[in-house]
Symmetry: C2
Subunit: 202 residues, 2 copies
């Protein structure tokens, strides 16, 4: 091991991560007018993951879940954030994210970079229980934010309840079957309040 070369490579990688602090999402932190960035989002979903563990349908290794969540959005440094309800944008972003993962994790010493790339890949393909748990959490957080901000990003982007259900139900209800009905009730209440569009009203 060449310690000096490895440390230089690690430094390049962590400084490259500064850029994720400038990748903006569609929601605004409660009480702030600016948009949320992907770095702080990545932190918050780890805490949500740690909080809802007693409600999971399957046992998971929480240390692995949070490591998946920590790396999962890093390729947005190259691909940008694409709204989950933007199907065309999502498809176009996939190749950019793959290239971004290769480039950014490639800044690290090779064994460490390969491990991080594998974590990113595991999240993206979603095969393990930990990846399915992490993917459910990534979807749950913005729903909770919107339910408690008068539907800020739903309103600003004209989102309807059938879109929210279609994109989130499959991922959330499998791992958190007792939580999804509670979310569904809250989504209906959000439609009643006018914070979320009614089904099919495009």
């Amino acid at each position: 091991m060449n310690t000096a070369a490895d440390f230089a490579a690690i430094t390049s990688f962590v400084l490259e991560l500064e850029k994720l602090k400038a990748v903006l999402r569609k929601n605004r932190p409660l009480g702030q007018t600016r948009f949320e960035n992907t770095a702080e989002h990545s932190w918050q979903i780890c805490l949500l993951a740690m909080s809802v563990l007693p409600h999971a349908a399957e046992p998971v290794d929480m240390g692995r879940v949070v490591q998946l969540l920590l790396v999962h959005d890093i390729p947005e440094i190259d691909a940008g954030d694409v709204n989950v309800y933007d199907a065309t944008g999502r498809a176009a972003a996939e190749a950019k994210e793959e290239a971004g993962a290769t480039r950014i994790f490639g800044l690290l010493p090779s064994a460490t970079g390969a491990q991080m790339y594998a974590l990113w890949r595991e999240f993206t393909t979603g095969t393990s229980a930990e990846a399915r748990y992490a993917r459910a959490i990534d979807r749950m957080m913005p729903v909770l934010q919107n339910l408690n901000s008068a539907g800020q990003s739903w309103r600003e982007n004209g989102i309807r309840i059938d879109q929210v259900t279609r994109m989130n139900h499959p991922k959330i209800s499998g791992m958190f079957p007792t939580l999804w009905p509670l979310l569904e009730q809250q989504l209906q209440a959000a439609v009643t309040r006018g914070d979320l569009g009614p089904a099919g009203a495009e």
Copy 2:
């Protein structure tokens, strides 16, 4: 388990965490003029932790290390961020952080809240190998940021090399004995460039 009550408590907690996105530190993300917030800092140090594992002097459970890092600054929601070089401010913040930890983790269902509080306490007291690893990482990150930003927060706050060494050497060198000499060389170079104050020149 009262699922609805627990989920409401979890929701209160994760929404309270939004406030950490508004707690500002002294350094500015590279390429941005704004200050870094504690939420995005908490994310970045987890990735640094995952990256330097091959250089650790002791074996650690990385899943635990990142969970310690994820929770360790949450009480700053109540206590604010205090610069590591501000000894008076640090002492005054300790009681506020203890009260903040009790309040904020107390928003969660009791068993989950107790687990998070225990993680915060473990980081703060620094007794386990994981806590010592996490504390070293928390110190290493701003040093790396300053070394690569022409000493931005060192310059803005009039920091000298003897302060940086005194505050960081004990925590970093124990867990990363081969990395500290590399940092020390870079600190000397920063003094030569004028990015960091020379020893003792108050």
